[in-house]
């Protein structure tokens, strides 16, 4: 499995995150001064996550999964399901940015 994480650009207002920040404050959780909400994509493939697959995902991440006008791709990495976790060791294999 390949995980792609996308966040709204830090300089842009994130109204959804702002709404959650407000809810936390109303619940008395005054420790938290901000929340930002992004997206996590999990792409599954038959067989191993090769460098070629990761390259394909890197392209897709910029072209489709994120709109780089308003969002940043903050991480791309291979992550194993529990069964085959050893194979990938849960290691991040290609962080971007």
């Amino acid at each position: 499995m390949i995980v792609v994480e996308v966040m709204p650009k830090p300089e842009l207002l994130d109204p959804a995150g702002k709404a959650v920040t407000g809810a936390l404050a109303r619940l008395g959780h005054t420790t938290f001064t901000g929340v930002r909400i992004g997206k996590r994509f999990e792409l599954t493939v038959d067989g191993p996550v090769t460098d070629a697959v990761l390259d394909e995902v890197r392209g897709l991440a910029e072209d489709l999964l994120a709109n780089t006008v308003i969002e940043d791709v903050v991480a791309i990495y291979a992550a194993g399901a529990e069964d085959d976790f050893d194979e990938f060791s849960g290691v991040t294999a290609g962080e971007t940015h």
Binding site: L13, P15, A16, L64, N67, V69
Partner: protein, 233 residues
């Protein structure tokens, strides 16, 4: 022969019928186009209508921008065909990179639905040549993700080149930068806006005006402008 103006229906489009009706009232022949079509059926102009294509999944307009027919729309737009994107259609245009910038959730976090006053800043595009520069009119506005944003550089470019076509007057309903309601490409054939001109084309069904309820029909002029632009080619 009447101009033929196509309206694309994506899964989740809502205002395609209204756009087809606006085209007919303006005096052109409306042509229904389907997202999976592989050709534009010889239309002279295209409208991408409002709605919630693909449920707004991924990002508003992002999946529709990948629809088969968009390949044809994009190449026709590059060749100079008039293309208008309304609301979700505007979002499709920015996701297709036919127009710069992006549209994000309204800054106040709520869906907004109101009769919105606009100023026509650029009256020389294919869709606004029937207005006078600086003229104001009212059109319904209804969106949850209508906040226009772009990099400082892009905003400077849009403002410097007169590519802001419509600006919100009195109220900025969604936090758009520089009160931007609509923009155009450098050539002036592609225009996108968040308000709905197709809902302001017929007395009794338009936005409220101070003079009378539901009497606003000035949205019709976007469509008659396109017809005029096609005749002048």
């Amino acid at each position: 022969m009447a101009a033929r103006i196509g309206v694309v229906t994506f899964p989740g489009s809502l205002d395609d019928r209204d756009a087809l009706r606006a085209v007919r009232i303006a005096g052109a022949e409306p042509v229904s186009l389907w997202h999976a079509d592989t050709d534009l059926q010889g239309v002279d102009a295209v409208v991408l209508p409002g709605g919630f294509s693909y449920g707004d999944y991924l990002r508003c307009g992002a999946i529709a921008a990948q629809a088969r027919i968009m390949r044809e729309v994009i190449s026709a737009a590059h060749a100079g065909m008039p293309v208008l994107g309304i609301c979700n259609g505007f979002q499709v245009l920015v996701e297709s990179h036919l127009l710069p910038g992006g549209l994000i959730r309204n800054d106040h976090g709520s869906f907004v639905c109101r009769d919105q006053r606009l100023r026509v800043e650029n009256a020389s595009t294919a869709w606004t040549n029937g207005f006078a520069a600086g003229e104001e009119f009212v059109a319904p506005l209804k969106n949850g993700e209508g906040g226009y944003i772009a990099s400082e550089e892009t905003i400077r470019e849009l403002e410097g080149e007169g590519r802001v076509v419509f600006r919100y007057v009195d109220v900025n309903p969604n936090g758009s930068m520089n009160d931007i309601a609509g923009i155009t490409n450098a050539r002036g054939n592609v225009v996108g806006l968040m308000p709905h001109p197709e809902h302001a084309v017929e007395p009794g069904f338009g936005p409220d005006l101070p003079s009378a309820m539901r009497s606003g029909v000035d949205g019709l002029r976007l469509f008659t402008s396109a017809i005029a632009a096609l005749l002048s080619v």
